[in-house]
Amino acid sequence: MSVTTMLAPSARNSTSSTSSSFVPVTRQNTIGSDGAPRSVRASKRYSVTALYLSMSAQDKDMEIEDELARVQKTLRDLKSRISSQSKKNFVLEKDVRYLDSRIALLIQNRMALEEQNEVASHFDESSELQEGTFPDDRKTQQYGNLFFLLQSEPRHIAALCRLVNMAEIDSLLQTVMFTIYGNQYESREEHLLLTMFQSVLSAQFDTTPEYSSLLRANTPVSRMMTTYTRRGPGQSYLKVVLAKQINNLIELKDLNLEINPLKVYERMVKNVEEDTGTLPANMPRSVSAEEAAENPQVQAIIEPRLTMLMELANTFLSTIIDNINETPYGIRWICKQIRSLTRRKYPDAKDNIICTLIGGFFFLRFLNPAIVTPRSYMLIDNIPSEHPRRTLTLIAKMLQNLANKPSYSKEPYMAKLSPFVTANKNRISKFLNDLCEVGDFYESLEMDNYVALSKKDLELNITLNEVYATHNLLEKHAKELLQGRDTEHLTILLQELGPAPPQVPRKENRAIILPLFSRWESALDDLSAALDITQEDVYFMEAKSIFVQLLRTLPPISAAVRRPLNLKKIADVAATTKDIGTFRKGIRGLELLNQLKDLGVISEVDEYQILREEVEQELVHLGSLKEKVTEESLKLDEVYKTIRDHNAYLVSQLETYKSYLHNVRSQSEGKQRGKQQKQHVLGPYKFTHQQLEKEGVIQKSNVPDNRRANIFFTITSPTPGTFVISLHYKGRNRGLLELDLKLDDLLEMQQNNHDELDLEYVQFNVPKVLALLNKRFARKKW
């Protein structure tokens, strides 16, 4: 492993110089939440350190293998797994969504045969893609140039995002967010992606006449924001701030916190009727909203619920506010852009308007959807039952209200919750403003781009069809696209490539590794000029980075590493080791000490005090870095697990559909041939009560504990798509209960979120039953 990969954990190929957990370089210096800006000069010096550290990454002959290096490697691996897994999930989700709608038609027998074939062809893609290479070297090179340009100059994609229609945007975003900028934890790609956001956002501000309609419609921009929030960092944030509370809440299945007087009244009437069989004369079945609200019994029911709701909403709010530092940088940065664009475009916009707009993104598009439909955000396993679902909706409404502070409630009963708004008004304004307090990254980005240019090994994991689809969109919108400023390079590349090839059939699609490089070499020599730093600075930083590396490589017992540090001695020791990398560094260290001395930057008299102190500081910092890295790894481990679980769920869903479709088709084939196909019976397979309980298939059991060991089940499939489940008691040769099941029924139940399958003694969980049947009775034909 190379030096830099250790100093700067990055997702891929040590391309990056920075990362959220790496303090000495750019990100947390320029992007400190403390808001304290460093002097431009200081931050440039840091950037250059980054560059040196990064460039020596190519210096593959020197390895550091300390504790820090190891935890950093773990973190890096984790990040790259999360990135690639979330792309897979994104694609799977799209397939499942498509099939969700198709299968419903199939169940209703409303699908023609051709369409069945079309659906079936969908399964081919969801299986893993084969790896491959481009058919032709020249094309590899040309596309490598094109994608390098697209990646490093985000304005082209930004322009494209504004031109495409809603039908095209999904596949474009898939390529952009999960492929071109797919390394979600890598600062350069993240920053480029955000730059693209900014340009799309500001165009949106330019074309929207009044702020009341800003960011409201469903546009490519809003789709971009959704997709962005669904990447790894957004997901883990939601988990941190919401998962625990939502889970606590949905466990209280019977907790009814409805406060709409009409609904409360209705339920009251229903209860009375059920209990007594009649309705008293003074209790009409239906009343107006006003009458219901004035009913004393209704008021008595609502009163304590209001208090509880406000308490609940308060807990949600407090957790969100307390965790402001967990909020992903990119999301905060988008909030910041919304604020500054609003101020620039509408100079007289009041502070509350600005808060409303930030809330329109942060709450409306990010947090509240997850509160209202937590299952779609992988926060819970099952759809919540009616009461908790309503409670969650009410909480989301309260939070949205708070962010918007409308002067009046559209639904009169919501006015009763106004104490919550009054009490938290200032808190929320402060929070929304604090969200925007993050630094910019332009300088570090510029730096990262230099670093990227210096790399020989930039590459992209992409599929043939993604390449062609992107090319297609560029071609289709070329006229408008190439009108913009500074598009000569893009024009040339597109001309060289010629017409965009059509999509290849799913079977021929390949995952390829596309090497990226620039057609237009931009020289690194004039770097110090470009960054406006002196030769002294450059030497100083190189020296610093070399000594830090040496101190991490030399054995900890070596006399040279004892404090106070003796830089000369360190370099001397290194220059006498056998390890060639260390040796070179030692020599270079000695050279630099001399050069810096000649330039008068450091002096031997005080034992190079300035340099020595900085090196020592750096080491202290690296010590605490290890803890931070370990902590981050733990958190991401959780995220990875969630994403994996979700993946397993999606895959099993696809499998179910697959086998169902297979059945339908083989049945209709049978009919077409006019003869009954000979089907052989599968099973019976035996399952114990304990086993099914453990797998969650049994979600509730009425069998007394001491009898459970004697209960078992058998499942048989007489024909594809039909199953017989029987429940047996040990020692009896006849079953206690037998149940005929059709796959259609189960799927339909699942479609309708009807999760329980009642077997009198036990209740099965429908999705789990499906998964089980799937696993055991898959009739191979694909």
Binding site: L105, N218, A289, L736, L737, D740, N752
Partner: protein
Amino acid sequence: MQHRREYHIVILGAGGVGKSCLTSQFVHNEWIEYYDPTIEDVYRKVIDVDGRSCILEILDTAGTEQFTAMREIYMKAGQGFLLVYSITSLSTLTELSDLRDQILRIKEADSVPLVIVGNKSDLEEDRAVRRDRAIMLSQKWGRVPFYETSARKRQNVDEVFLDLCRQMMRADVGGSGSGGGASGGSSEKVYQTPRKRRFCVIL
């Protein structure tokens, strides 16, 4: 008090097209100027349709695409649908097709009571959708009623709701009771429990 029919209306359409403003004009005769995105609001209004009094429960929904996971539940409960777009944005019209498909799928029907509403007709100078675009869509869907409305000027607001009511009443009579969730309790589909055979039962 007479026994009155109760109907569930769901208002769907992209964010910012004026669903809440239409609802508020219809229910409270009020115009709302400010920006206040909806998550889920419910209203009730008693109206007279051709001499018959009925209760409308109106569900105003989130147009924001992030909330689409909730739609399915709404569609199950609804009996009549207003599909709203804004005449100032073509994409809001094209979004309606997916909504209709989803409704039909969930309702397992070829048609449901439905009205296409092109709102913000007062913003003629910003018009981006010509009337005939929507008329074409209405034809394609089997002559679904179509109105242009202005929530701001309260033009055609009552008409839209009345039209939908009449459709729901007709469906109610024609469909011989099915879909008439008269008591307001959402009529959860009852599963014909898979055939069970039970034998001896002592545990």
